[in-house]
């Protein structure tokens, strides 16, 4: 019963992550294409300088790319665990993928905050820059993911050792 509930929960979470990947990828890149022709652009971007706009567009592409990479890692992890595969190297790679993409997103967010300030750009929806709280929470998240990565690495090594005992 408990196992079935866990499997059901994992399936639901996996479906939510799948939906999120689709929304983020299609929404962001669709939004970027539609921006010049609709009001979406004005709601999102600060149009006062051409260079500033280029920086913002590059930011969106990079942030979305990193988010999709992180979500794909999460999806692979959920799928493997739902299939009963725990301490396998694919899971370790998936956690590693989540770790580096989140860390890069955190660094990018921090850099954005400085660059936007220097270029006097306004982050209209507050999605590309970070507040002090965002940075602290992000750092906490990266630390937890790093610990999970270390646990998986040890788990994979122990599993390989156990598999060599016949």
């Amino acid at each position: 019963m408990k196992k079935r509930l866990t499997s059901w929960l994992l399936t639901i979470i996996q479906a939510v992550v799948d939906l999120e990947i689709a929304i983020v990828a299609v929404g962001a890149f669709g939004g970027l294409i539609a921006a010049p022709f609709t009001e979406i652009g004005h709601a999102f971007f600060d149009y006062r300088s051409g260079f500033g706009l280029l920086v913002q567009v590059l930011d969106v592409v990079l942030e979305v790319g990193l988010l999709v990479i992180s979500l794909l890692g999460t999806r692979n992890l959920l799928s493997n665990i739902n299939d009963g595969q725990y301490f396998v190297s694919q899971n370790m790679l998936a956690v590693w993928q989540i770790l580096w993409s989140t860390l890069l997103a955190l660094v990018l967010g921090g850099l954005n905050t400085v660059i936007y300030h220097l270029l006097h750009l306004r982050d209209k929806l507050g999605l590309l820059t970070m507040s002090g709280d965002d940075f602290t929470n992000g750092l906490g998240f990266v630390t937890v993911i790093f610990l999970i990565y270390l646990i998986f690495r040890r788990g994979v090594a122990l599993q390989q050792e156990a598999d060599e005992i016949i």
């Binding site: 060599e164 005992i165 016949i166």
Partner: protein, 67 residues
């Protein structure tokens, strides 16, 4: 060093590796790893099944070689 004499016991019993693998429920590949001494260890459960299938003692299969 521990030497695995499984092939000797198998030939004495006139049993093939494949047959033994089937009887004790492990893959022929794993049995081959065990026979060639490449396994890191052997479970008591597996040893019990081998001894039962071959009607022998653990000492007939495993031998300590000094030096």
């Amino acid at each position: 060093m521990i030497r695995v004499n499984l092939d000797v016991v198998l030939s004495e019993r006139k049993m093939t590796s494949k047959e033994l693998a089937q009887r004790i429920g492990i893959t022929p590949a794993n049995l081959s790893i065990l026979k060639t001494g490449k396994a890191r260890g052997i479970r008591f459960e597996t040893l019990d099944k081998i001894c039962r299938a071959l009607n022998c003692q653990p000492g007939d299969i495993l031998e300590y070689q000094g030096g």
